[in-house]
Symmetry: C2
Subunit: 385 residues, 2 copies
């Protein structure tokens, strides 16, 4: 299978916020476009919980990426102008070191021996990569959903790391509704006997728990409004039910089923647990005098675009507004876009027309950097982890 | 334990909408107040999915009922004026015949051999009880949540069964978001190995599945707004976690846990499955030309109060508005109250101040019936089922 991932070896030991440390840990990432001679045209994209670093097709991997409609030549994030990097979060399972990786001390997967993970650890790891690439200041740091929280952490922990910021459908702190949903997803996984305290394998995989976790995710990623229009009370062919009153009967049930089927066994359950809990823990208020507003005021950037969606129940629009207000209070020029996409939290992955237009318009306002051309920064060699 | 339940034996066989039949089935109910000589002061209250017929304390059972603040002498539903009946739905497990009841043919619990259940069956059973009590026309039929759907079915199937109607936080048809939530709750129960195709006992009870189903219920019964104000990011005493990063840490997690603990093992999982699916199936549109509006126009009553809550994500306010509009189109005098209670779908159980005021004001407008006094209708004898 084609693979465009590059790997950056983190400093060893890599110290974690809550006390643990990692040895010989890697960060997986992909890039598009060319870094300018002054390394001032870099755009770092941080995905949500589940996507990999493959945000768009590229030379090494022509398959569509998770943000194919947004990233590419002439697209909203124009790879003719920008050097785009997408990082698979530390703790994930798409190439970066996480609970499914082998613990070099034991030679076996970490499982729940993986140290407690925070989004701050992910942010610090991202910064290590930027340092290695010689990028002193990003032109723009883009964070979507969980990646938006990591982006906030990165700007708080590494002042000056970026000139501009795009915050998409994220939260400055986890609120109880989101914590409740994630807690229940974790419970479903942990109650699955196959989870076995994090010690499972392909033959004994907590599939039932992951199915429920994913379906609950999908329910909260979309919106009731979209589903009423899309599925209404459409029924499936009744033949399949064969007298079982609890078998899938409505279109919305088979939709959830299809989502679960695509996800289960492609994502490591322990990674899910760790990143889910890290999201609960994240709180910008810890960086200020205890309020989100004060925490956000500690971020110093020049321009920001904050995009949210009215139908998002997981990261409600009020939280996007709080991010916009907080960044504005710190002196940034802030655009706030409350889009009326019906797709809820997932809109940034689906309604790429509205999101693309907002991102393109914002990036067009950023100052031109030096021209791209002859000088190509030497990228670290590919190595397999 | 004190027990105020009475039981009404349904006609045997009791024919079900989707084809099955029940033999020697019972309906459990409780009453408050005194039926007037002309039997024209009866108010029938239909609860949501989980509560029993014990809506309020009474002579036989002085413990608080689930609507204690609303029903009683001088309260919003004034038992000094009204003869109040509350029925435990057919298919439930609080005294009425349901999947946990013994099948008289086998002498063993029905389990999933219970016939497919619809809310129309529950409505027909309710009507049998009213007939037995000599109540030709209710003064008011009150339905809450699932009970609100059963009430709509009862008015469609038994025209003239009530003079007035109070519809509370219900839906004229299940929409895909609600179907998705309920489908996932059912999946959690059915994936629990202890569910065992509906054949379990106390020693092998699908506790894990019921915990998840209940927690998901609680999440959708309340609102993000309420929880942000109530729990914020309050943490539990850290001692209990003992280094387990996935143990309950936030107040909202222990709140869910407490709810699950109170519910699990007090409710029959098969009953939950049957009533949940019956709710998915319910659709007023089937009674009209295919639209909800047309279905509702077939209901002929004189007065209606429709109450919904802006923060209800399970039965959104637009659905309450549709009920109000449909009843108005059929010629009823309709009051529509969109309350701004923060408690979401559960508000009718919690914000009894707002709900009580609306209900009291509406009932005060209903015409006085004949005076209550000497004639007490003979109620069926208590018998245990």
């Amino acid at each position: 299978m084609p693979d465009a991932r590059r790997y950056h070896r983190l400093p060893s030991p890599f110290l974690m916020k809550r006390g643990g440390e990692l040895h010989s840990a890697d960060l997986a990432y992909e890039t598009w476009g060319t870094l300018s001679p002054h390394a001032d045209n870099a755009v770092l994209v941080l995905p949500g919980l589940s996507p990999s670093a493959h945000a768009a097709s590229n030379r090494h991997d022509p398959s569509d990426g998770w943000w194919e409609a947004i990233i590419g030549p002439g697209k909203a994030i124009d790879t003719g102008r920008w050097f785009v990097i997408c990082i698979n979060s530390l703790g994930s399972c798409k190439g970066s070191t996480g609970p499914a990786s082998n613990n070099p001390d034991s030679g076996k997967p970490y499982g729940i021996e993986f140290p407690e993970l925070t989004l701050e650890d992910a942010a610090n790891a991202n910064q290590c990569l930027l340092d290695a690439l010689g990028i002193k200041r990003l032109a723009c740091l883009v964070g979507c959903s969980m990646g938006g929280m990591t982006a906030l952490a990165q700007m708080l922990l590494h002042p000056g790391c970026t000139r501009a910021h795009i915050s998409i459908s994220t939260a400055p702190q986890a609120q109880p509704f989101a914590i409740a949903i994630r807690s229940l997803q974790r419970e479903a996984i942990r109650l699955d006997p196959n989870w076995n305290d994090g010690d499972y394998d392909e033959a004994h995989y907590p599939e039932a728990g992951m199915r429920i976790a994913r379906k609950l995710g999908v329910i909260t990623y979309r919106s009731a409004l979209e589903w009423s229009g899309r599925f209404s009370r459409i029924r499936l062919d009744s033949g399949a039910r064969e007298g079982d009153p609890f078998a899938a009967e409505f279109a919305v049930e088979s939709y959830l089923e299809a989502h679960a089927r695509r996800f289960v066994r492609t994502y490591d359950p322990n990674s899910y647990l760790y990143l889910s809990r890290a999201s609960d823990w994240f709180d910008v208020a810890e960086y200020g005098d205890g309020s989100v507003a004060d925490g956000l005021r500690r971020i110093h950037i020049e321009d920001a675009l904050v995009i949210g969606v009215e139908t998002d129940i997981l990261f409600p629009i009020e939280q996007q507004k709080a991010v916009a207000d907080g960044l504005a209070a710190s002196g940034a020029r802030v655009r706030f876009e409350a889009l009326d996409s019906p797709q809820g939290h997932d809109a940034f992955l689906v309604d790429t027309e509205r999101f693309g237009a907002a991102i393109r318009a914002f990036l067009d306002t950023l100052p031109r950097t030096d021209s791209i051309g002859s000088c190509v920064v030497p990228l670290p060699q590919h190595h397999e982890n």
